[in-house]
């Protein structure tokens, strides 16, 4: 096999096709739903980066999604324009994650306890935000609103021109840029030493320390990056929904993104993206009827994936594809085309 399969390779062909499709989409489809799916895809990809490559499973990734949403809303109400709030929506979750991450990783807790702590952090945020009803709870001009949340904040506008709104199709394109941009950033990181180190940490943390690497610092770094992307997704979600409520911190939200990543495929970037978009679409469709309950489907799916197809859809398809190519290569005549040593069984 070839080197560093585990960090994947940039497939420019597919990327450009996807880019073209997304750019031309508004001509054929309504962008409203698609924007939401893209936001969820970014959210899922952020978790997939941390979980699939560095092996860090957070049971409360919704915390950073929610923090991004709330930060945007609060900042937008106070500032009145969208550029700085968007930036803050990335920085605040990142900062929060840096603190929580450092506390966990420098404390060398096991992955079970990481799961528990991340779960509890999200619970704290949920409980806190749900209870902030009343005028007493204000950050600047923004009332936190408790269970009802914060409605009616300024949505995205052209930087510097608060009156020129970017709602509708322009927001869709912003979501496209956000997702593809973060995807490219992640691919770049994975191709660098940092990305390879993450995989090393996932495989054997103790060994990486013995090699002289500062593992807690590396884990905190990827955790922070992942939170920043989740925060970005959260702020875009706030813009799509035009209201933020404590449900962004719900266990439901965190369970869903986990299922999207797991079903889509741990260990790839594409898996979480596709998992989120497909399962998200299914959720929206199921939401419109009452016969089959969404929880039921998601729950069943999660159980099946954990028990059976543990690797998820995309990696399974990938290995199926590779196996097929290998079978073809064994046929006489095709052998000359695939000649490199890496294709011979090890």
């Amino acid at each position: 096999m070839s080197d560093w399969r585990s960090t994947g390779k940039m497939q420019w062909g597919w990327f450009l096709i996807a880019l073209a499709v997304l750019v031309l989409l508004p001509l054929v489809f309504d962008t409203y739903t698609m924007s939401l799916l893209l936001v969820w895809a970014l959210f899922a990809m952020s978790l997939g980066l941390m979980w699939g490559y560095a092996g860090l499973l957070s049971f409360g990734h919704a915390a950073y999604f929610g923090l991004g949403a709330y930060t945007y809303a609060i900042a937008a109400v106070n500032i009145g324009e969208s550029s700085v709030p968007l930036l803050l929506a990335i920085l605040v979750p990142a900062l929060f994650a840096a603190v929580v991450g450092a506390m966990m990783f420098y404390g060398r807790i096991s992955d079970v306890y990481m799961g528990v702590i991340t779960l509890v952090v999200t619970l704290i945020l949920f409980n806190f935000m749900s209870a902030t009803a009343g005028d007493a709870y204000k950050l600047g001009d923004a009332r936190l609103g408790g269970f009802n949340g914060i409605p009616g904040f300024p949505t995205l506008n052209v930087p510097g021109y608060p009156q020129m709104s970017l709602a509708g199709v322009p927001t869709y394109y912003i979501c496209v840029v956000a997702l593809l941009g973060c995807y490219l950033l992640s691919r770049w990181i994975l191709a660098r030493s940092f990305g390879r180190l993450l995989v090393g940490i996932r495989e054997n943390e103790a060994r990486c320390e013995l090699m002289g690497y500062n593992v807690p610092a590396l884990k905190t770094a990827v955790f922070t990056l992942s939170a920043a992307m989740a925060g970005l997704a959260g702020s875009l979600f706030a813009n799509w929904a035009e209201i933020v409520t404590p449900s962004v911190f719900s266990l439901r939200q965190t369970a869903e993104v986990l299922i999207w990543v797991l079903v889509g495929g741990l260990g790839t970037l594409l898996g979480p993206i596709l998992g989120a978009m497909v399962l998200g679409a299914v959720k929206l469709y199921l939401g419109e009827q009452t016969v089959i309950d969404n929880s039921l489907v998601l729950g069943l799916l999660l159980i099946i994936v954990v028990l059976g197809v543990r690797r998820g859809v995309v990696p399974t398809l990938q290995s199926w594809w590779v196996a097929r190519a290998r079978r073809r290569a064994r046929k006489p005549g095709a052998r000359r085309r695939l000649g490199s040593a890496s294709d011979r069984p090890a």
Partner: protein
């Protein structure tokens, strides 16, 4: 004049048991020393204290590496000084190939550009080329041990600490390992902890015998291994 490694009054307790009892130890530059002793003598605990795997406090004594105080340092900081460590329990990345494992180790020291070259060199030294693209998890135990030695070597350390490097290796592999260790000794100092008397004899170096947490005897291998006290302590061990 302090040596490459020095411990002063090193002590480690587990509950009521004193595993390492006020040990004063010193390793000279370019020396190869073997640590032996029966099970429970404290040699592995001693090893873990020196490598930072047990975090030391004031009450545990002092450890110095080339004169610098490393007491209480975390492992990765000790490694960064230029120390190579192989632990008793094999610790490699099973899901990655031999090449990938070595590359990660090389990267910290040789940078992006130099790593592939360093990896090639180490694979030649240890005859791992044939296994380069194999997943480490699929290799035999002895081969995995060799890869782990590779992970240590590729960082070109000036002090090498090996805990039971020959465990699980076949006869020819053990001989090859002894040769590798002697070659390393030309440029680096070494501490080797092991049970295998044959292996220790093969290395023919100075030996420190541990017993009940303290140093029983120190000296050249042939003298120590034939000493009556050492044999007594090893009663039951067929190699003594």
């Amino acid at each position: 004049m302090s040596g490459v490694v020095e411990t002063l009054d090193l002590t480690m307790r587990f509950g009521g048991v004193v595993a390492v009892d006020h040990v004063n130890f010193s390793l000279r530059e370019r020396e190869l020393r073997c640590l032996i002793g029966p099970n429970g003598a404290g040699k592995s605990t001693f090893f873990k204290c020196v490598t930072g795997q047990y975090r030391l406090g004031h009450e545990n004594g002092r450890v110095l590496v080339r004169g610098s105080e490393v007491t209480g340092w975390p492992t990765h900081e000790i490694v960064r000084l230029g120390v190579g460590i192989k632990t008793q329990v094999p610790s490699v990345m099973n899901g990655l190939t031999v090449h990938e494992n070595l590359w990660l180790a090389a990267r910290r020291v040789h940078g992006w550009a130099g790593s592939n070259g360093a990896v090639e060199e180490t694979m030649s030294e240890l005859q791992l080329h044939a296994l380069s693209r194999r997943l480490v998890g699929e290799l035999a135990h002895g081969q995995r041990q060799m890869v782990e030695i590779g992970l240590v070597l590729v960082q070109r350390p000036w002090l090498v600490l090996l805990d039971e490097p020959a465990a699980g290796m076949t006869g020819p592999e053990v001989e090859r390992l002894a040769g590798v260790i002697r070659r390393i000794n030309q440029t680096a100092s070494l501490i080797v902890v092991d049970h295998d008397m044959e292996f220790v004899r093969m290395l023919g170096s100075n030996v420190t015998v541990f017993y009940q947490g303290a140093v029983l005897l120190e000296g050249p291998a042939d003298r120590v291994l034939n000493d009556a006290r050492v044999r007594e302590v090893y009663i039951g061990n067929r190699a003594a």
